[in-house]
Symmetry: C2
């Protein structure tokens, strides 16, 4: 990597001209350009492989797509030539003719989420070695964007679709089902997934939070989180668990939109000013919890003695913040891997014995509770 250290002085026209002269761009029409090595040569096509192997193109196609249908010797020869020439199927021609592409669409609610990215990465780890390409989209928690993206899938003809979440809008559910491809939902435990699911119960996470507080001897507890989506489910479980364990929920603070640490700070401040007697707070995600933890320390409170804080999400950073955030969560990368395996199985035409799969929620206890 070179670095001219010139950022302070924006490049002059002269700089640019010098650069362009040194390295001319290929012309837009693909014709060779002086100085550009002739590796812009058209990549080999299936007919070329067929010619080299002395077979017809369809046999090459079969050797690649359904190896078992081609005689051993021919198959070996074809694959050897494919290897040698670096032949790669044109994915568009393939998708056009067969309606099957090697693209797997993955939608995350928010790319900034460490956990969602981990799940997508895990899924990619399983699928990419098999020749599939992940196409990642961000729905930004917006139904409108989700709907648009799902519509665009019809023409894209992905081999499968995965979401870090579940699809709630009935029209979108129908559109997805109509694609006739494997659909993977995650991150919740709905009664009626569209097709396949690797999920966990958000309600259970709330219950576990309450149970944990009860075990640790806290009685007056609070909740910080969104009143919609997964936050609402976690609150529902938290209420159930609190009732069952005889805890007293002294405050429920709601947060809007994509939550941040600042929201968590503010919410804890509000909560304490309204009800100073609260002993333990469950935050519906680790960002909120981290904000709450920092605010508590800023106020000079000792954790967990003055106040206990419990988050959700197994966030990395929160482990390092003294005294360490106790958090409930799942192994997101593993969830992604499981989702990938199930998708793969379905793309191969096998039905997984189990289209619904629950991943385990674990509580990682650190210093904050």
């Amino acid at each position: 990597m070179s670095d001219t250290g010139a950022a302070k002085r924006p490049p002059t026209i002269d700089d640019v001209l010098r650069l362009r002269a040194a390295e001319p761009l290929p012309s837009r029409d693909g014709n060779p350009v002086e100085g550009v090595p002739r590796d812009g040569a058209a990549p080999p096509r299936i007919v070329e492989i067929a010619r080299l192997a002395g077979v017809s193109p369809i046999t090459v196609s079969r050797a690649l797509r359904h190896p078992e249908k081609v005689a051993e010797a021919k198959r070996r020869k074809i694959l050897e030539i494919v290897e040698r020439t670096g032949y790669a199927t044109n994915p568009h021609a393939r998708a056009l003719r067969s309606g099957q592409s090697n693209i797997v669409a993955a939608f995350v609610s928010n790319l900034q989420s460490e956990q969602f990215c981990l799940a997508v990465q895990g899924c990619g780890e399983v699928l990419e070695p098999q020749g599939y390409q992940l196409m990642i989209g961000q729905t930004s928690y917006s139904y409108a964007k989700e709907t648009t993206m799902i519509q665009s899938l019809r023409e894209m003809r992905p081999a499968a679709v995965m979401f870090t979440g579940v699809i709630e809008i009935e029209e979108n559910r129908r559109a997805l089902r109509a694609l006739g491809i494997p659909i993977m939902e995650t991150w919740a435990y709905p009664r009626d997934p569209i097709d396949m699911l690797v999920g966990f119960s958000n309600i259970d996470s709330g219950r576990q939070a309450a149970e944990h507080f009860a075990e640790r001897g806290y009685r007056r507890v609070g909740f910080i989180g969104r009143r919609s989506g997964r936050g609402a489910l976690r609150l529902t479980g938290f209420r159930e668990g609190a009732r069952a364990a005889g805890l007293d929920i002294v405050a429920e603070l709601s947060v809007d939109g994509v939550s941040s640490m600042v929201d968590g700070r503010r919410a804890l401040g509000d909560l304490l000013s309204r009800n100073a007697a609260v002993e333990a707070v469950f935050c519906a995600n680790d960002l909120l919890a981290t904000g709450a933890l920092l605010e508590a320390r800023r106020l000079g409170m000792r954790l967990p003695d003055d106040i206990a804080i419990l988050g959700f999400g197994h966030n990395d950073v929160a482990e390092e913040l003294p005294p360490g955030l106790t958090t409930i969560g799942i192994d997101s990368r593993d969830l992604g891997r499981q989702a990938g395996s199930m998708i793969l199985q379905r793309m191969r035409g096998e039905m997984p014995s189990e289209p619904i799969c629950a991943v385990e929620l674990t509580l990682t206890r650190r210093g904050s509770s």
Copy 2:
């Protein structure tokens, strides 16, 4: 969103059978399935739009692709019908025939990086409204993966490619150039970008760090970071700046691989044990800096009096950690937007007047320095 709260009890075969009975999947061959509404009907094709508009298919194609070449009245009618029917061009047929797809490939070194994701998001904000789809890939800082992915581009025929980084391997640079499409590199300021660049000087960032320390009156300074890639550039600049300002670099600690907060903690510990007199430390990224900051506080040091810490990356979380991390960085989302605009311009066939664009480095001073 429903949640049966059943994750603790893994679903039984009965659960599954009940679910499957309630919502049968469409069959793999796309034929209608009982209970699935007939919206699996084939989407409209260009011929259908042409028939409805009373024109030939090519006119519809032109109305969409080159509106200026179609008579006003016809164009309006065609676009109205396209709107009404929800017609969408089949991207594979388009790519196959024209060699131009609506996919823009975006490669990040690491999906877990807040800053890289922001840049990709910014780029998407500009491109998606224009009908382009971002296909995100992760190179994981691996040359092998980078090479594989670049090779796969040849067949994918993306409309453009963007990287959160620069391509160093000459073979990959040639392969990219041979694609004949806009290539955007970022996050550095090399002498010879492949095509277009929105970057900043990593060397300058190091210089600025040294200058900041000098202004604040620190004399004995240290560095924590990688010895390769961008870390090495930042160190180079830091050394230059230190020399120019008469600072004394008392220690340079190197870190391997993808850095973490724990690396930062450990490095600061090492540094202090070797050279307790160090007054200020520049960390090549905010994760390292955050670890260092936490370690300093754990050791009971006051910031910035006992030790000053300066990071790189404008990390969000680091703002919230008392006393707040001072950090040098860029506006990553804005970098992404600029990159998107330039890519767009090139895809429209215009040459941007300026293929190289420098974004500003800013120092955000908080409590740690």
